[in-house]
C-alpha cells in the first residue's frame, strides 16, 4: 500500500460498474486545491456516473476516493457526513426542490445547518442568487422560471454553505452563450476569491478551454481514462487521436511537435 495521497481529491484504481456491466475501470487521478478540474468525454461514457462516485451517491466496484488524504470510500456512514458537508453539488437539471421557491431552495441548507438569524439568511440567499444573475427571482417556484435559470439557481444552492469543493454536472449545457460565459466568469471568480476547488462535468469546448486548469478524458472505446492534463495542451499535443479529435470537434490534425 502506497502512502496516502495528498491532493484535494484523489481517485485510486477506481472501477465503476452497474451490476456486472463495467462503465469505466482503472481510473486514477488527482484534483489539486484550487483546480478547475474538467471531466469530459462522449455522451454516455460515464461522466455523471464518475461524479456520483466522487460524491458518494454510488459505491465503487473497486478502488477508493480520497479527500485531503482521508479515504471517503472507507469512511463509515457516520463520518461521511463530515466529508459531504464540504461539498456543493449542482445536478444536471438543477434538481431544485420543486415545492420550494428559489429563495427557499437556497435557504434550506442554511436553515438546517447554521444558526444564522432569518434576516442574515435572507441577505445571503439574495447575494447567492445575485451571483448567478437571479436577483429578484427569490419568490418564484422552479416551475415558473426557465431551465437555464433552474440550473443557475441550482448552482446558487450548491454554494449555499460556502463549500470547499463544488461539483457541477454540465453547468453550461442549455444556457445561452452570454449566460454560459457569465457562468465561466463566476466559476473563475469564485475560485480566485474564495479558493474553492471545482470538479465540472461538461463537453462545452469553449468552457473547457476558458476555465479548465486540468481535464480528464474518459474514453468510451477502452473504458478507461484516455488522457489527463491541461485542456489546451491535450488539444494540441495529446498522443491519443481520440482526445485530439474530441477537443478539435472532429477536425483532427497530427499532434504538433513540442517546441
Amino acid at each position: 500500500m502506497s502512502a496516502p495521497p495528498t491532493a484535494k481529491i484523489s481517485v485510486r484504481d477506481l472501477t465503476m460498474a452497474y451490476g456486472s456491466f463495467v462503465v469505466m475501470k482503472d481510473l486514477e487521478f488527482d484534483v489539486l486545491e484550487r483546480d478547475i478540474f474538467i471531466i469530459m468525454g462522449g455522451s454516455g461514457c460515464g461522466k455523471s456516473t464518475l461524479l456520483r462516485h466522487l460524491i458518494g451517491l454510488r459505491e465503487p466496484a473497486r478502488g477508493e476516493v480520497f479527500y485531503d488524504g482521508a479515504s471517503f470510500t472507507a469512511a463509515p456512514t457516520a463520518d461521511r457526513e463530515r466529508f459531504i458537508r464540504r461539498f456543493g453539488v449542482m445536478y444536471q437539471s438543477g434538481a431544485l426542490w420543486s415545492s420550494l421557491t428559489l429563495a427557499e431552495n437556497v435557504a434550506l441548507p442554511l436553515e438546517e445547518f447554521t444558526r444564522l438569524p432569518a434576516r442574515t439568511i435572507r441577505d445571503i440567499v439574495s447575494y447567492k442568487l445575485s451571483l448567478v444573475g437571479l436577483a429578484g427571482f427569490e419568490d418564484y417556484y422552479p416551475s415558473q422560471v426557465s431551465g437555464g435559470m433552474n440550473k443557475r439557481a441550482g448552482i446558487a444552492r450548491a454554494m449555499a454553505l460556502d463549500p470547499d469543493i463544488l461539483f457541477l454536472d454540465e453547468p453550461s449545457a442549455g444556457l445561452d452563450p452570454l449566460s454560459a460565459r457569465r457562468l465561466d466568469d463566476l466559476i473563475l471568480r469564485l475560485r480566485d476569491s474564495l479558493g474553492s476547488t471545482f470538479v465540472i462535468v461538461t463537453h462545452e469546448l469553449a468552457s473547457i478551454f476558458a476555465i479548465g486548469s486540468n481535464a480528464l478524458f474518459l474514453d468510451t472505446a477502452t473504458r478507461t481514462q484516455g488522457a489527463i492534463g491541461p485542456p489546451c495542451h491535450l488539444r494540441d499535443h495529446s498522443e491519443s487521436a481520440t482526445v485530439r479529435s474530441f477537443l478539435n470537434r472532429g477536425e483532427d490534425s497530427a499532434p504538433e511537435t513540442q517546441p
Binding site: 420543486s98 442574515t120 445575485s130 451571483l131 417556484y141 422552479p142 460556502d162 474564495l194 479558493g195
Partner: protein, 374 residues
C-alpha cells in the same frame, strides 16, 4: 471556503462602523457564519459609502458580501467604486451586481385582505367547476370519437390498464367483500335471532351486497387503488412535459391517455362488482353455517331473495361509478401542476373527488330507484 485577509491569533467578532457621516465604512473582525452577529455602529446612510476601510478585516465568508449587497440594494445607483475592498471581495460584489435586479420580477403575490381571499376562492372554485364540466364533456366527445373509430390510442396501453384495474384488483376486492359480507351477517344475525328469523340473514346479506355494498365497496377500493394511480401517473407525465410531447406529435392526449383508462375501468367495474357480490354472499354464508343454518337452505334462500332487477341495479350503477373514478383520477392528473408536490396533491384530490362522486351518485340513484319503486 474561508479567506484570510490578515492573520490573527484570536479572531475578533465582526463589526461594521460608519465613519465620517457615512462616507467611510470600516469593516473589522472575522465575518463568518459561526461568528456572533456583526455589531453595527454609527448611522448608516441609505446605500454605500465612498470608501471602505478593511485594514482590520480578518477573514470572511458569504455573510460579508451578503451584508454589503443588502446595503448596495438600498442605493439608487448600481455602479460603485468599492474603493478599499480587498480584490477578491470587490470581484464578488461586481459579479453580484453584474446583472441588474429584475425589479418587475419582484411582485407582491399576496395582499392579506380577507375579501380578496374570498374572491380568489370563488374564482378558483368557479374555474374548477368549469374545468370539471369541460373534462366530462371532452370525455363524452372522446367516447364519441372512439365509437366512430377515430380515436387513436395504443392497444397495448389499454390491455395494461385493463390488467391493472381488473385482474390485479381481484385479491383486495375479494378480501374486503368477504369481510363486509361477514360483518353484515353478524350484525343481521344478532337482530334477527330475537325474532327467531335467523334464516332471513341470507336475504339481508344477499340484498345488501347486491344492491349497495358490493358496488360501493368495489368503487371505494378502486378509487383508492386505481383512481390514485391514474392521477399519479398522468400527474408526473404532466410534470415531465410528456403530455406536451404527445400533443406536439398531433396525438390527442385525451384519446391517448384518458380514453383507455376510462374504457378499462368502465368495463372492469361491473365484473368486479359481480365478483364482489358473490364473495360477499360467501362470507355471509360462512356466518350462516356457523350459527347452524344448513348451507343448502342458506343458498336457496339467497337465490330466492334476489330478482334479476335487484341484481342488475348494482351492476348498472357500477358503470357510472367506474366512469366517475376514471374521470376524477385522470382529470386531477392532467390538470396537475408541474412540481413533485403537485403530483401528491393531485393524487389526494383524485381519491377525495372520486369517493365523493361515488357516494353522491349512489344517493342520487337511491332516490331515483325509490321514486321508480324498484
Amino acid at each position: 471556503m474561508k479567506v484570510a485577509v490578515q492573520g490573527s491569533a484570536s479572531p475578533r467578532p465582526p463589526r461594521a462602523t460608519w465613519q465620517q457621516e457615512g462616507r467611510v465604512l470600516r469593516l473589522e473582525g472575522r465575518w463568518h457564519r459561526d461568528a456572533p452577529p456583526p455589531v453595527l455602529e454609527g448611522t448608516a446612510p441609505p446605500g454605500l459609502p465612498e470608501r471602505f476601510d478593511c485594514t482590520q478585516l480578518e477573514e470572511f465568508d458569504s455573510t460579508l458580501p451578503a451584508f454589503l449587497l443588502a446595503h448596495a440594494r438600498l442605493a439608487a445607483t448600481s455602479s460603485f467604486a468599492w474603493d478599499g475592498l480587498p480584490d477578491n471581495l470587490r470581484g464578488l460584489m461586481q459579479l453580484a451586481l453584474g446583472v441588474p435586479e429584475q425589479s418587475d420580477a419582484r411582485g407582491s403575490p399576496h395582499d392579506g385582505s380577507e375579501l380578496r381571499a374570498l374572491g380568489e376562492w370563488t374564482l378558483r372554485t368557479w374555474k374548477a367547476t368549469r374545468a370539471t364540466l369541460a373534462f366530462v364533456g371532452e370525455s363524452v366527445q372522446s367516447l364519441g370519437r372512439f365509437a366512430v373509430g377515430r380515436a387513436r390510442f395504443r392497444g397495448r396501453d389499454f390491455w395494461e390498464v385493463l390488467q391493472q384495474c381488473g385482474a390485479e384488483a381481484l385479491p383486495i376486492v375479494a378480501l374486503i367483500s368477504f369481510l363486509v359480507g361477514l360483518i353484515l351477517a353478524f350484525v343481521g344475525n344478532v337482530q334477527l335471532a330475537n325474532f327467531g328469523a335467523n334464516l332471513f340473514v341470507a336475504d339481508l346479506v344477499a340484498i345488501a351486497m347486491v344492491r349497495e355494498m358490493g358496488v360501493m365497496m368495489t368503487a371505494i377500493i378502486m378509487s383508492g387503488r386505481t383512481g390514485a394511480a391514474f392521477a399519479a401517473h398522468l400527474g408526473s407525465m404532466q410534470a415531465n412535459e410528456e403530455i406536451d410531447a404527445l400533443r406536439t406529435f398531433g396525438l390527442q392526449p385525451f384519446d391517448f391517455l384518458v380514453l383507455p383508462r376510462l374504457l378499462a375501468l368502465v368495463l372492469m367495474m361491473p365484473l368486479l362488482t359481480i365478483y364482489s357480490n358473490l364473495i360477499g354472499i360467501l362470507g355471509g354464508m360462512l356466518v350462516g353455517i356457523s350459527v347452524g343454518i344448513p348451507p343448502v337452505l342458506y343458498w336457496n334462500e339467497t337465490v330466492e331473495s334476489i330478482t334479476l332487477t335487484t341484481a342488475s341495479l348494482g351492476v348498472f350503477k357500477s358503470f357510472f361509478f367506474g366512469a366517475a373514478i376514471a374521470v376524477a383520477g385522470c382529470m386531477t392528473g392532467m390538470n396537475a401542476g408541474r412540481s413533485s408536490a403537485a403530483v401528491g396533491e393531485a393524487t389526494t384530490r383524485a381519491v377525495v373527488a372520486s369517493i365523493t362522486a361515488v357516494i353522491v351518485l349512489d344517493s342520487g340513484f337511491a332516490a331515483i330507484f325509490t321514486l321508480l319503486d324498484i
